[in-house]
């Protein structure tokens, strides 16, 4: 009888553990936050984005006119987008701070002023 009770207890504990793990992995599989960004001569819209450290994110960069790029040197991230097309930048911020990205494909006289700032907080 005692043995049976022990077995039941172990089984219950296992079941609970499996449930917790399953719940966690379901959480982990939540889709990353998607943020649409439009690149056009000579700006990004939005020009500032607030992010949480550890929160997976996808920046979907659309080109409204010419070919553009978006590069965050400090984060070692870069994406290029063809004229009238879109590209995705997937990442999970692993440090807090302000990170300024610039257009990385030369697009004309205001190219140097195209910037997008990420504000990453805890």
């Amino acid at each position: 009888m005692k043995k049976r009770l022990m077995l039941l207890a172990v089984s219950a504990a296992l079941a609970i553990t499996v449930m917790i793990l399953t719940t966690d992995s379901t959480l982990a599989q939540n889709p990353p936050r998607r943020i649409e960004v439009t690149a056009s001569k000579f700006s990004f819209a939005p020009a500032e984005i607030a992010l949480k450290k550890g929160e997976p994110v996808v920046l979907v960069v659309h080109s409204a006119d010419a070919a553009h790029g978006l590069r965050f040197r400090e984060l070692n991230l870069e994406v290029k987008v063809d004229k009238g097309s879109k590209s995705e930048m997937r990442f999970t911020p692993d440090k807090t701070g302000d990170f300024v990205g610039h257009c990385s494909v030369f697009c004309g006289s205001g190219h140097g002023g195209m910037a997008l700032t990420l504000h990453v907080t805890e």
Binding site: R73, H102, C103, F106, S109, G110, H111, G112, G113, M114
Partner: protein
């Protein structure tokens, strides 16, 4: 005091007009004296930002970044190698386009090179690139200028090859 300033300005203007009358508007090469005076004035007086340090260190990546940024339009006058290779008018401008590998250019500090790229140099024809290129790109170009490839090793700008 005001009269003296006016007189000096008028004399300078007359001198300039006299020089123009003698030389016309032809793009003739500067003489040795003119060149040495202008080079000294640029290094010591006119080109600022002497003390600013380059925030980018020289790595293969930043040199490659600088080379790419340089290729956006600097190559039209300076060639792919920064030494005017293949630029048909390099010697026919007044002043002629300097080789960026020359001692006159390499003697500038990194901060001064940034200043020149930001603001251009009047009346050489060198345009200012502030806003057209990002600060990051300009600093990477400064890194590239310190690590220029051998003259002629990069071929000629495509715009002059067909």
């Amino acid at each position: 005091m005001r009269c003296a300033l006016l007189a000096v300005s008028a004399a300078a203007l007359l001198g300039l007009l006299g020089l123009l009358a003698l030389r016309g508007c032809k793009a003739t090469p500067p003489g040795k004296l003119e060149k040495s005076v202008v080079v000294a004035a640029k290094h010591r007086v006119f080109i600022g930002n002497r003390r600013q340090k380059n925030p980018l260190s020289a790595t293969p990546e930043t040199i490659a970044d600088g080379k790419e940024a340089f290729s956006h339009y600097c190559i039209a006058c300076h060639g792919m190698d920064g030494q005017n290779t293949g630029v048909p008018f390099a010697d026919r401008m007044s002043p002629p386009i300097a080789s960026l590998a020359s001692e006159d250019v390499q003697r500038y500090t990194d901060g001064q090179l940034k200043w020149v790229i930001d603001n251009g140099i009047w009346p050489s024809g060198m345009p200012g690139s502030e806003g057209t290129l990002s600060d990051e790109e300009i600093w990477s170009i400064v890194v590239f200028l310190r690590h220029l490839p051998p003259a002629g090793s990069q071929g000629e700008p495509e715009m002059y090859t067909h």
